[in-house]
Symmetry: C2
Subunit: 136 residues, 2 copies
């Protein structure tokens, strides 16, 4: 896609510190890392969110992600990492080409990737459960 | 695993608001949700982190996650959601049975799942890139 910064990286028009590439997937270091070694993994084909990635590509993506997370752990990490994928504007997605973050974590790194907890009212949980199941 | 709360849910010894189940995967509503409809997806077989999940199971997990994320979007969401998987104590993993969070997001929901950005020193990015590639 013409205006997509990740499509430009895939096409080699913008340089990146590549850590993995095959016919379908590319991975490179995030230039604005949450921690050293923060990688992005994405399908080369432009698609907006996780929901737009074809099943076959998702299978590739998840296996490549495991390969990279393992390599990160053996090289500069310690086996602790967050996988994060923001989908849609309300979820904080900035580049509209689906991408997954692998963020190596270190004890005391002060990174805060967590959330406050809400509470369900009585019966609300069952109501939501039924709504979701209806569309499965 | 005897002391694992998620293994107990899988075995039916602890109740849950189930939204999906097959032979390998289970998904249910998080009882301490970041937002209404926050789901957990996990392999039934006990394994500690993402790195311990067999490739075949990962393929299942990611396809089921897509199915649930789509259903969440159609039922109570709007297509915006975070996927998060915390692996290891330093990454904030609390229950040591690998699990993935699907968190529906709504405009102005005040949930903050993001991070501050660090900067690489000159040459540091290339050094890390080489280290990671060495273990691929």
């Amino acid at each position: 896609m013409e205006d997509c910064v990740f499509c430009k990286i895939v096409a080699g028009k913008i340089p990146c510190a590549k850590v993995y590439e095959d016919d379908f997937i590319i991975s490179f270091l995030d230039i604005m890392p949450a921690n050293r070694g923060h990688c992005l993994v994405l399908p080369k084909m432009h698609c907006e969110t996780f929901l737009d990635i074809a099943d076959k590509e998702l299978e590739n993506l998840v296996k490549v992600t495991k390969k990279i997370a393992k390599s990160l752990s053996l090289s500069i990490g310690n086996g602790s990492f967050n996988l994060v994928m923001n989908n849609g504007a309300a979820a904080g997605q900035v580049v509209n080409h689906a991408h997954l973050h692998i963020i190596p974590r270190f004890k005391g790194d002060r990174l805060r990737i967590k959330w406050s907890h809400k509470k369900y009212e009585d019966g609300e949980m069952e109501e939501i459960q039924q709504k979701i199941r209806k569309f499965m």
